[in-house]
Symmetry: C3
Subunit: 148 residues, 3 copies
């Protein structure tokens, strides 16, 4: 119940993904591409692939967001989550316009995702040391750096 | 451990998704479409797309189900989850028969998903107000409506 | 915070999925298949489909891993998770070499996934009996088998 910031980012991610799905439906109508076909004019294929790519990364993002939020830091994860969603929004609109337009925001989102995966790894590693080796690395680090 | 109803719906979702995956394997054999090809007779492509669409929405559904279950109401979420899974079952069999057959259950599932996303949003918003603004909107609403 | 073993498997799954995504990017460059196209030489299509298949099963795996870990047993789920990730690694490299090469590790991963779904079902069923029927089946089973 206390992971409300991560919950808020999760809701935003759900809404963003819903908007992308609606865009594919509009593009299917606009370019007359009836299901189950997934190929058509380049403009349709770009929107279709943009949504497919965002969908593919959605579970990875949500998993990294929560693992990082639970084991590392709620605030840092929520902030990264907001940046990721912003990057994905720019990626979708960039890709809808041209294949080149997707690149910059794609690299940005990928970097944020790596950050979340890095936070998750650190968080799990620290928890592991604390629970199984009785070794509080975070506290030790703070002591060494003179924060405590 | 207390979110056992959401857990039960999650298990049903996993089983349903497994059944859909098996259907694609059977269709690959029946219509002789060997991997990595994903195109073939329309009957195969419909089953392939039906499963792909359900897979695509699976993480969105699970995320909305748990966010809504944790932050809003376990019972309401579990009930919506059951309706969603029923809609997806009808969607899969409808799409396997004809592109038209997928439409009604698709709209039904989409509406249930919107409901779950709406519950998630409300739940997170109420939790946010309670934790950060010390404002119990649910209690206030009940008071105003004369329930308390 | 105590589900640190499941957390560790989750982090490994995220890293594995990231590696597969990078492989598709390398294959796109190597075989000159610029997005949004997804078809090209068979060697590219195999890598593309291998990654797509792993991505498709990623949310199912993560959901089964956590449901099984929370409701059944953390240790058993984490162990299954490790086997699943190893199977997926062999599947990816096998598929990259030939369509035949994917079969053995695919069946292996699928069996592990069924095990995780089975554990989840049992775990949810036992929790359900304990909470709603006040019936501790695990304790009863241990008594019958003479473990308690």
């Amino acid at each position: 119940m206390e992971a409300v910031c991560i919950g808020a980012v999760t809701v935003m991610a759900l809404l963003e993904q819903s908007v992308f799905s609606l865009q594919v439906i509009y593009a299917r109508r606009k370019y007359s591409v009836a299901p189950p076909a997934t190929s058509g004019p380049p403009a349709f294929e770009r929107i279709f692939r943009a949504q497919a790519n965002c969908s593919e990364y959605f579970p990875i993002f949500i998993t990294a967001l929560w693992t990082s939020g639970v084991f590392f830091s709620e605030g840092a994860s929520a902030l990264c989550g907001l940046f990721y969603l912003y990057g994905r929004l720019r990626y979708f609109w960039g890709y809808a316009q041209s294949p080149q337009g997707r690149l910059a925001p794609l690299y940005f989102s990928a970097q944020i995702l790596w950050l979340l995966i890095g936070f998750s790894s650190l968080g799990v590693f620290f928890s592991f040391c604390r629970i199984y080796l009785n070794l509080d690395l975070v506290h030790m680090l703070c002591s060494v750096l003179g924060f405590v």
